[in-house]
């Protein structure tokens, strides 16, 4: 089975964010693999181990942005591809999806493309469905479990979640799947894996390599700000016993009209 897993790198979730002249920065906080993508890498590695096959990590980003790829390789991915081109600055999700779809097509003969559920930075959750639509492959979002994977028959069965519950769905391959946290804990990279990843070489493709023009973007974000902090006046509820405190809180909540 040939599996691609798409990974992004993001500032650590505990980072303090700043905006200067419209540029977003996160001080010296480390860049990490998007935490959701670790679940996708874990799923990809397990599927490849069960079915035989290889896992390629695919990342779109600046040339020096290697943390996500390195982490996927250290977890055990067989290969990686970085797509990098200055023309991609400011790409919206449709533009980014066009580039990812072109890279997937160039890699070729892919059975399955896995994504994380969404990125923790810009958080659109759109790439998995847009890449699927561009490739004209079925899109299976928020998958927690792979029930049956039969590449020989060109099909797979997964459990995907929605607000009202789970759907068991059968799909043709190739398909695009986004993986949720319910899939199960991702492995830690082994010491050997980290060493291997630090030495790994992988191609860096430009748009010319992909044979496409810079895709145009419809969405722009002319203004990014820190939210005005809501002035919160915290009132500590006093009382000698838990009962007294509870009684005072009930009165306060009634007065606050939130019940």
């Amino acid at each position: 089975m040939k599996i691609i897993v798409c990974v992004k790198q993001v500032p650590d979730t505990a980072a303090t964010m700043e905006v200067e002249n419209g540029n977003i920065s996160w001080g010296d906080a480390p860049l990490i693999i998007n935490p959701w993508d670790e679940f996708a890498v874990e799923a990809a590695l397990n599927l490849a181990a069960d079915q035989g096959g290889e896992v390629t990590a695919l990342c779109l980003g600046k040339e020096e942005e290697t943390e996500a790829i390195k982490h996927a390789l250290a977890m055990g991915a067989d290969a990686a591809v970085l797509v990098s081109d200055p023309a991609l600055k400011g790409s919206d999700t449709v533009a980014a999806s066009k580039v990812l779809a072109a890279a997937i097509t160039k890699i070729g003969e892919v059975d399955l493309v896995l994504f994380g559920q969404q990125s923790v930075d810009t958080d659109t959750g759109l790439l998995p469905v847009q890449v699927a639509r561009l490739l004209k492959w079925p899109s299976l979002t928020l998958v927690s479990k792979f029930k049956e994977v039969t590449p020989a028959e060109g099909s797979l069965q997964v459990i995907r979640s929605m607000e009202e519950g789970n759907q068991v769905i059968k799909s043709r391959l190739p398909a695009v799947v986004s993986v949720t946290k319910d899939y199960g804990e991702p492995r830690y990279p082994s010491f050997m894996g980290i060493r291997k990843a630090s030495k790994a070489e992988y191609p860096v493709w430009t748009l010319t390599d992909l044979g496409i023009d810079p895709p145009s973007s419809s969405i722009s974000w002319p203004e990014v700000n820190k939210p005005v902090e809501k002035e919160i006046v915290t009132e500590i509820i006093d009382g000698d016993t838990p009962e007294e405190k509870a009684k005072t809180l009930v009165e306060k909540l009634i007065a606050e009209k939130v019940l």
Binding site: T13, D92, T93, V120, D123, I219, N225, I237, I254
Partner: protein, 347 residues
């Protein structure tokens, strides 16, 4: 000028996600301001009755497809109908609620219609000649204002960020039935089964949420059964703690939330997790019990209108974000709090 606004009504087997009505309500407001019209798009099987509801919530006209192939949620057949309807009607704006299905369909529609999506929007300004949408990024640490340069502009709205209108049962309008000519044999996916979620109030729709963290398991007064190992004993204690939370939630008609620490330790399933890697919620009242207030937890709930924190550590960061703070043991405070609120609400 924004004249024609199409709203996708998201539902599951005919049960409408109330964020769909929030979206339709907003569409009706924009249409009224601009002398335009609000249209609703309803797709599914056995959904004819939803048209009346759409009129009550503000639609001027309804596009409806009722067909067996649309019974279960599958994005591929649905998007075919959505794209065709959009190409025929030529809306200026298409609005989806940011439900799991709405997000998926909005993303695909942008590809099909060669445009863009402004996703999970919390505020919208349509007063000028361009629409400006505000969304929250980096776990709520930044806000971005967005515009879309192509038509139709596609927007998904965060649940509970916009008011749900009062239904006006006197309203009606015209219904256009859409043709469905999809071949079942051509479909790439088949839905084999649906597993209902255990009932309970959904986190994202809830007006009130009561959440528990690691503190649910910290209760020295309890003696766990002898046959449990350390981890088992901890989970057993946490279950008693979450029972107290559930009791309060029942009285308030609230949903139950949890911190990631509680989920990771196996106290409660992931569906309940609030935070950056869980659900982002914005209820009127959020009661955090035994939760420290880590930045990733705050990312999921700090836009709640009123936050109450119950924590035995006076220095817990959660108190900086709480309107009301109760310093003490949640296991001691919850029972009288539940009783007091019950007496008030029933009185």
């Amino acid at each position: 000028m924004t004249k024609k606004i199409l709203t996708y009504i998201d539902h599951f087997h005919g049960k409408v996600q109330s964020s769909s009505w929030e979206a339709l309500g907003l569409a009706a407001k924009i249409a009224a301001d601009n002398g335009g019209e609000a249209a609703a798009l309803i797709l599914g099987e056995g959904v004819n009755d939803l048209a009346d509801l759409a009129f009550h919530y503000g639609a001027d006209q309804v596009f409806l497809a009722d067909h067996a192939i649309l019974k279960d949620f599958r994005p591929e057949p649905l998007i075919e109908i959505i794209t065709k309807a959009a190409n025929d009607y030529q809306p200026d704006v298409i609005i989806f609620p940011t439900t799991t299905r709405g997000r998926t369909l909005a993303g695909m529609a942008a590809v099909d219609l060669d445009t863009g999506v402004m996703v999970d929007v919390i505020d919208l300004d349509w007063k000028g000649d361009k629409i400006t949408a505000t969304r929250s990024i980096y776990g709520g640490k930044l806000l971005a204002k967005l515009t879309c340069s192509t038509s139709p502009e596609i927007i998904t709205l965060r649940t509970r960020a916009f008011d749900k209108p009062e239904p006006d049962t006197g309203r009606s309008g015209s219904i256009t039935h859409l043709e469905v000519s999809l071949d079942p044999a051509d479909q790439a996916t088949t839905v084999l089964d649906h597993q209902e979620k255990a009932s309970g109030v959904s986190l994202t729709d809830a007006n009130v949420i009561v959440s528990g963290g690691r503190g649910t398991a910290i209760n020295p007064t309890l003696t766990p059964p002898d046959d449990l190992d350390e981890a088992g004993a901890e989970v057993w204690k946490a279950e008693q703690g979450f029972d107290l939370i559930q009791n309060l939630a029942d009285v308030l008609g609230a949903a139950v939330g949890a911190s990631r620490a509680a989920v990771d330790a196996g106290y409660i399933v992931y569906d309940h997790q609030v935070g950056q890697t869980g659900k982002v919620v914005s209820p009127d009242l959020y009661i955090a019990c035994g939760i420290s207030g880590a930045i990733q937890h705050l990312a999921g709930m700090r836009s709640s209108k009123v936050i109450v924190a119950i924590n035995k550590d006076r220095d817990a960061p959660i108190f900086n974000f709480a309107r009301f703070g109760l310093i003490g043991d949640m296991h001691e405070i919850l029972p009288p709090l539940t009783a007091g609120l019950k007496a008030y609400l029933e009185g």
